[in-house]
């Protein structure tokens, strides 16, 4: 076990989360990997422990059980020195337009659950005056589009939440990093026809995220070209934008 403390990774099963776990283990941090059916991560656990001589603990965690989030965090001993939220549920937009339960699930997974779990963490970090919070949001939150606006609006809410949290915790010297990935080649996007130049590999995202966190950054786009893409998309006048299909 290393003495650098534990990083908590929420939604640890996603490809991005696993790559981020690798990066932190490589830096010598111990890990809490939290996910549903977390036993699936046993081979990753042994792998990180053998490669990096850190301690990796698996935690059964259900993002959607909102009322349990405070207890979940209190149960962590020792408390983590940082947290990364890497859960995301894309869902099917067209289906969600007719299926209220699905729409709710998209909103809950990408917004409500994160607020529920991050609030007690933020309070603890604020009081300790140390810690970092990395929130993986999305460029989809930068402007609502018909292709994925339910997911996008949850991400927009999450980005605004992180921005506010950053403002609140700045005084306590707690870092809040908002990550806005564009397309990432993961299980979530498998089968989609993604443009190569705009698509990042999960390993690449992980490297950028951990580097940005270690450097104390606030908001990053991955790949960086997305900053420009979204700058343009955000500035298209609504009269034109509403008729577009992008």
């Amino acid at each position: 076990m290393s003495d650098k403390g534990f990083v908590l990774i929420l939604g640890a099963k996603s490809d991005m989360a696993q790559s981020i776990a690798r990066e932190y283990a490589g830096l010598g941090f111990n890990l809490y990997l939290a996910a549903r059916n977390v036993a699936d991560l046993e081979s990753l656990q042994s792998d990180l422990q053998i490669r990096h001589q850190v301690e990796v603990r698996l935690l059964e965690w259900d993002a959607l059980k909102l009322e349990e989030q405070s207890n979940f965090y209190q149960g962590l001993a020792p408390a983590p020195v940082g947290v990364v939220t890497a859960l995301g549920f894309l869902g099917d937009q067209t289906q969600a337009q007719q299926d209220a339960a699905l729409a709710q699930k998209i909103l809950q997974s990408n917004f409500n659950a994160l607020v529920a779990v991050l609030e007690p963490i933020a309070a603890d970090f604020e009081q300790k005056q140390s810690g970092f919070i990395v929130g993986i949001s999305s460029v989809a939150g930068d402007r609502g589009r018909k292709a994925n606006y339910i997911y996008g609006s949850a991400k927009a809410g999450f980005s605004a939440y992180l921005s506010g949290l950053r403002n609140r915790l700045a005084e306590a010297d707690v870092q809040v990093l908002t990550v806005k990935p564009g397309f990432v080649a993961t299980k979530m996007t498998a089968g989609m026809d993604l443009p190569e130049k705009l698509t990042a590999q999960p390993e690449q995202v992980a490297k950028m995220v951990v580097k940005a966190q270690q450097k104390g950054r606030n908001v990053i786009y991955v790949k960086p070209i997305w900053w420009l893409v979204m700058l343009i998309i955000r500035h298209i006048p609504e009269v034109i934008f509403k008729k577009m299909s992008i």
Partner: protein, 438 residues
């Protein structure tokens, strides 16, 4: 289900090329899904087999099936998923005083690939092949069933899978017995020999040395025929286990066709041979210098140009080795084709695997740039190998004719019958297995 992008794939020799589906997998479940589909499929590790043994319509790419599962630092037993590279094992094992019991001349291959080719190394005459260090393995059959195989359990599956080029199933994980070392340094002795006869004598004289291999000047003629540098060695005992893998330069582009010709090849071979002045010299070298000199040069396969190259590796039974090698080296030297360095090695006894390459005798490995005039030369060499009772190495092969290949493997019919009996030949096929009727 993960997607399978179409890719233009080839083995390490970059010949032959094929447009195939590359399906990257991270779990046994995903592999089962791909095995269930129509069409020929074969496992693909890190793409270091030279020819077409891991090329099919659809490849199951195992590089992301790469978790260490267990490592007992006391006993040196390591359990790992099949997509782990040998280089990753070294990073974990060497600092604790453990090394691969068998390693080939590159560490950039997967564990699954090492088993499927039953690779060997400089210590074959002492220890045998990679499978000798495999305690057991898990194999997924085409129907998705997973079986354990070892010398004691499902022996036929073990002996057909080790060296079986992925044609019996997809290897999921293996348990390896590592070998204890006291240092990351190797005490190396280099013996310079002026002729084939001297080279053979040197191999015999240094048989007691656990590691040995010779670089031979394949373009030397007449009385210099078969001159070589024999390198033998063993691990030092100085307790230095602070292992860091070096990063070397890369070959950034394909060399143009004219770069490799009779003149540049003989000049290189001449310099390499004459750089060593003393008849016998001693050096202290690192693991990477001793075992993996070519890994220091990333993409060295580009030296042979965009049309690629074939590696021609054969082994001759000991009693016919001298005469056969003499004949083969004469043919090569006269042709003026050949490689920067040819590798000669004395092997120990063969093992129980049905398609493993090693047998007691001498093996020679040479690279040839692919060009139209090459095929006639290789056919002449094939004749000599067959006449001497030799055989070819599937992991290197891209072109051996079926009739030539099967003469070297007395258990080939057993392998074929086993594949038919278990219906393995319905889905698990590579370009190579189709070519050779495996």
């Amino acid at each position: 289900m993960m997607s399978c992008p179409q890719k233009n794939l080839a083995g390490w020799g970059r010949f032959p090329r094929s447009t195939s589906k590359a399906c990257s997998v991270q779990s046994a479940q995903e592999i089962a899904g791909f095995l269930d589909e129509e069409g020929d499929v074969i496992a693909y590790g890190n793409g270091r087999s030279y020819g077409d043994s891991a090329i099919a319509d659809k490849q199951i790419v195992t590089r992301k099936l790469n978790h260490f599962l267990q490592f007992d630092k006391e006993s040196g037993i390591l359990r790992a998923q099949s997509g782990i590279l040998l280089s990753e094992i070294l990073q974990v094992a060497v600092p604790h005083g453990w090394f691969l019991a068998v390693t080939p001349g590159t560490k950039l291959i997967t564990v699954g690939g090492a088993i499927a080719s039953d690779v060997h190394g400089k210590n074959h005459h002492h220890f045998g092949s990679f499978s000798q260090s495999v305690l057991d393995l898990k194999l997924m059959l085409p129907n998705g069933e997973i079986i354990d195989c070892s010398e004691n359990e499902n022996r036929d599956w073990f002996h057909s899978t080790c060296g079986g080029q992925g044609l019996t199933g997809v290897i999921l994980e293996a348990r390896l017995q590592l070998k204890p070392i006291k240092s990351q340094n190797i005490e190396q002795t280099t013996i310079k020999s002026a002729s084939l006869q001297e080279t053979f004598a040197a191999f015999e004289d240094y048989q007691a040395s656990p590691y040995s291999v010779a670089w031979i000047d394949c373009l030397a003629k007449g009385k210099n025929l078969g001159r070589s540098l024999l390198m033998v060695g063993d691990f030092a005992t100085d307790g230095d286990l602070d292992y860091r893998s070096p990063r070397g330069p890369a070959i950034p582009f394909n060399f143009p066709k004219f770069a490799l010709n009779r003149l540049t090849l003989s000049a290189f071979n001449w310099l390499y041979y004459h750089k060593v002045r003393k008849k016998i010299s001693q050096q202290m070298v690192s693991i990477d210098q001793f075992f993996y000199p070519l890994d220091a040069l990333s993409n060295w396969n580009r030296i042979y140009g965009k049309d690629g190259f074939v590696q021609y590796q054969f082994i001759l039974p000991k009693e016919h080795s001298y005469q056969g090698l003499q004949e083969i080296l004469q043919i090569i030297a006269a042709s003026g084709k050949g490689s920067f360095l040819a590798v000669l090695k004395l092997y120990g006894k063969h093992n129980a695997n049905w398609l493993s390459f090693p047998m007691e005798g001498y093996s020679l490995a040479l690279d040839f740039k692919v060009e139209p005039s090459l095929w006639g030369l290789l056919e002449r060499l094939d004749e000599v190998v067959v006449k001497c009772g030799g055989r070819f190495y599937l992991a290197k092969d891209a072109r051996v004719p079926k009739a030539v290949f099967e003469q070297g493997y007395p258990q080939i019919e057993q392998f074929r019958a086993f594949r038919r009996q278990h219906g393995l030949d319905k889905t698990l096929n590579s370009r190579q297995s189709v070519r050779l009727g495996l």
